[in-house]
């Protein structure tokens, strides 16, 4: 046998091949459903918001990595942030504001904390909170769905106190489900969000625990408060938040029980803000708050290792 050099590498010598970038691009794929709904209902301008947001997040990530002298990996995480941010913005938001928000999302919320895997807050939600503080008027300017071409008509979002629905409940639920209603670009069609979410569940990308605990808590609390349960589930950012934001690996707990606690906490906060707070919608801040206490949850909510109880018993 001819002499040849052999390598050594740490085991295991098999890899499942589920890479970070594959996961991110599957999320991007799942987000295409709500994105398509947003473009369908709010027209080409919504598409340009998405394009600017994604371009700005990716470029910001590239620039920050260069400045920090780190390798830039096109792992798709910046694309996910860009998409998510666009989907939670009003459809008439000026593009320069979108760019400012995107830069903030990546440069401050994500990279300043160390980049992917180290950030405390969901970058897209952090960016949105920043924009709400800076551009309060534009961030709350809602229009009714116009599709392509027609002029935008100012409207109230379903959750705001000035929202009036002149029709029966069934048609309201139908419009909320399909997305033919005022709101952020990507959060109008509960149905398409659900399709994207189910795709992520089916492919094992996300666990059911956070969405189920989150939406379930909102349902139970609104029921207890004698509110319209179906309306609260379908309206606003709950569906998008529960399936795509609260399930962000980095900023949510790692254990199964921790995920349930996270979902319940976000649900309680969302209902409190919607019902008793000064804002019409509470999904964004609820998730950001739960992001902040995620390290605490991970610190104290542990799994019982195999063989532990037995040891305690034999010692005692």
């Amino acid at each position: 046998m001819p002499e040849r050099e052999f390598l050594i590498s740490p085991g295991p010598h098999l890899w499942r091949g589920q890479s970070v970038s594959k996961i991110m691009y599957i999320v991007v794929l799942a987000l295409m459903f709500p994105t398509a709904a947003g473009v369908y209902f709010f027209g080409y301008y919504a598409l340009s918001v998405v394009a600017v947001s994604v371009a700005a997040t990716v470029l910001t990530e590239y620039a920050v990595k260069k400045l920090r002298k780190r390798a830039f990996v096109m792992d798709g995480s910046a694309v996910v942030t860009g998409l998510l941010l666009a989907l939670i913005l009003p459809p008439t938001i000026p593009l320069w504001m979108v760019a400012v928000g995107s830069v903030f999302s990546i440069a401050i919320v994500k990279e300043a904390f160390g980049g992917l895997g180290h950030n405390i807050f969901n970058p897209a939600l952090g960016g949105r909170a920043f924009m709400t503080a800076c551009f309060a008027v534009k961030m709350t300017a809602w229009v009714s769905p116009t599709g392509f071409g027609a002029d935008a008509i100012t409207t109230a979002t379903p959750l705001s106190s000035s929202f009036i629905w002149e029709g029966d409940k069934i048609s309201l639920y139908r419009d909320l489900l399909l997305g033919n209603i005022g709101g952020s670009i990507g959060e109008t069609s509960a149905l398409l969000i659900l399709i994207g979410g189910i795709l992520l569940l089916a492919l094992g990308i996300i666990s059911w625990r956070i969405p189920v605990a989150y939406i379930g808590t909102v349902a139970l609390l609104t029921l207890a408060l004698r509110q319209d349960v179906i309306f609260h589930i379908l309206a606003g950012g709950l569906m998008l938040g529960a399936f795509f934001m609260a399930t962000d690996y980095v900023t949510s707990p790692i254990t199964a029980r921790g995920k349930i606690i996270f979902g319940i906490g976000a649900g309680i906060l969302t209902v409190i803000i919607r019902r008793f707070g000064g804002l019409p919608e509470g999904v964004c801040y609820s998730i950001l708050f739960m992001n902040a206490i995620t390290p605490l949850i991970d610190r104290y909510v542990r799994v019982r290792p195999y063989g532990l109880a037995k040891k305690v018993k034999s010692e005692g």
Partner: protein, 427 residues
């Protein structure tokens, strides 16, 4: 996980005797052996050439007849420690020592049986190389109620135990019957993963034919790595948990690998010391095979017998792909714990930062948080590793296999464990 059992249908082939063998003096997890021979000595096949006074030890034997031509040092990658080894140049005649008279287990006392097992140099052949006579000598007061014969072979690629069950089934069962005599447990299970239906069928028939129907019970198990790990096996079959840092005997169980049990048969019924074993040679070799190999045969000879390395494979792994260790030196010999030689292309992928996806938690059979252990280990926070139950980890690699960030979690854990051992030793 792909099973890649390329050699499941390849009958065991004995390979020609090597011109020389290298016998490391430390081939068990216990104490090393002292050499009993010197350079120039003539030795016979199966002659004992290394032994120790220590209890946790198994002697080593010459595996060919010939002359001790050199004493050397070999480096075994798992420890990185050099180990003394004896080189025997074969005379080609394969003359055996006079073997101990074959015994009937019924006529032998437990003490005599254990003595023979020890003298035969038998260790756990699943890879742990724990001396078998020690495992069969539970301390006073520890009652063993269950014996599990482990025929899971859950690692991808490896088929040596599978073939041993098919081709030496009778020997495996009568070896198991010897264990029954030694430990007199209430129950004896034979655990086999359901990806080996032929082995399950075969042993089922043999159990009936050999009259063991009342004694042995086959448990087909789901093929899911790491099913064959002792702790997983005990948890799955008996719903018992081995305490952290404890042994199966703490919960009244002893687990033995099928090849070990076959070696017990050979020692008792044939008086034969453990000098050869079945090794799967697989992956990127021209003709993957299951080989019957004398211990001490250089890896090179096995690979050459299988037609050499195919393509541009760059890594040789001793053991399976999950828990096996890279061995760049092909002059290194087959040792007692070598169940598989896997040749494959090296896959070096850049490690990324953890994204806390939680896949490693789901994969961990010990319900640990592997990524946290790896983070602590990376930061040198070894006491935190200890508090996070690092001792519970048996390094199956299921976490690193599934990790999307390709973090060598097991490697970090191994480093932390060895640091903790060093610290404990310095105290």
């Amino acid at each position: 996980m792909p099973e890649s059992k390329l050699t499941a249908r390849s009958p065991i082939e004995p390979i020609p005797l090597p011109e020389k063998v290298i016998i490391p003096l430390h081939q068990n997890i216990g104490a090393p052996c002292e050499t009993m021979v010197k350079r120039g000595d003539k030795v016979l096949t199966a002659q004992k050439i290394g032994d120790s006074e220590r209890f946790v030890n198994a002697p080593v034997h010459a595996t060919v007849s010939g002359e001790i031509s050199a004493t050397t040092m070999v480096v075994n990658p798992p420890t990185g420690q050099p180990v003394a080894a004896l080189v025997i140049t074969s005379d080609g005649a394969d003359r055996w020592v006079e073997l101990e008279a074959p015994g009937e287990p019924e006529a032998l006392s437990v003490k005599e049986i254990l003595g023979r097992i020890r003298e035969a140099g038998i260790v756990g052949l699943g890879g742990a190389t724990f001396p078998t006579h020690v495992k069969l000598s539970p301390p006073e007061g520890k009652k063993i109620d269950t014996v599990i014969l482990n025929g899971c072979e859950c690692e991808p690629y490896i088929t040596s135990d599978h073939r041993v069950m098919l081709e030496y089934g009778e020997k495996v069962l009568s070896g198991l019957n010897i264990i029954r005599k030694v430990l007199s447990p209430d129950t004896i299970y034979i655990a086999i993963e359901d990806n080996k239906p032929d082995a399950i069928d075969h042993l089922e028939k043999l159990i009936v034919a050999m009259g063991f129907k009342e004694d042995f019970k086959i448990i087909p198990l789901k093929s899911k790595y790491p099913m064959g790990a002792e702790k997983t096996l005990i948890g799955t079959i008996l719903d018992r948990e081995v305490p952290i840092g404890g042994l199966p005997l703490d919960v009244g169980v002893v687990v033995h690998n099928v090849s070990t049990v076959k070696a017990i048969h050979d020692a008792i019924f044939e008086g034969k010391p453990f000098v050869e074993r079945v090794v799967t040679v697989t992956g990127a070799v021209k003709n993957p095979k299951n080989l019957l190999v004398r211990l001490g045969t250089p890896l090179k000879s096995l690979i050459e017998y299988c037609g050499g390395i195919d393509g541009k494979a760059s890594e040789v792994i001793l053991g399976g792909p999950m828990m096996g260790i890279s061995q760049p030196d092909l002059d290194f010999p087959v040792t007692k714990g070598t169940s598989c030689v896997l040749v494959k292309e090296s896959t070096l992928i850049r490690e990324q930062d953890c994204i806390s996806c939680g896949r490693c938690l789901e994969a961990c059979p010990m319900h640990l948080i592997p990524t946290t252990l790896a983070k602590y280990a990376k930061a040198g926070r070894y006491d935190d590793c200890k508090e996070a139950y690092i001792d519970d980890c048996f390094e199956c690699g299921a976490c690193a296999y599934t990790c999307p960030a390709n973090i060598p979690i097991v490697q970090y854990i191994k480093v932390a464990k060895s640091e903790l051992i060093k610290r404990a030793a310095n105290k």
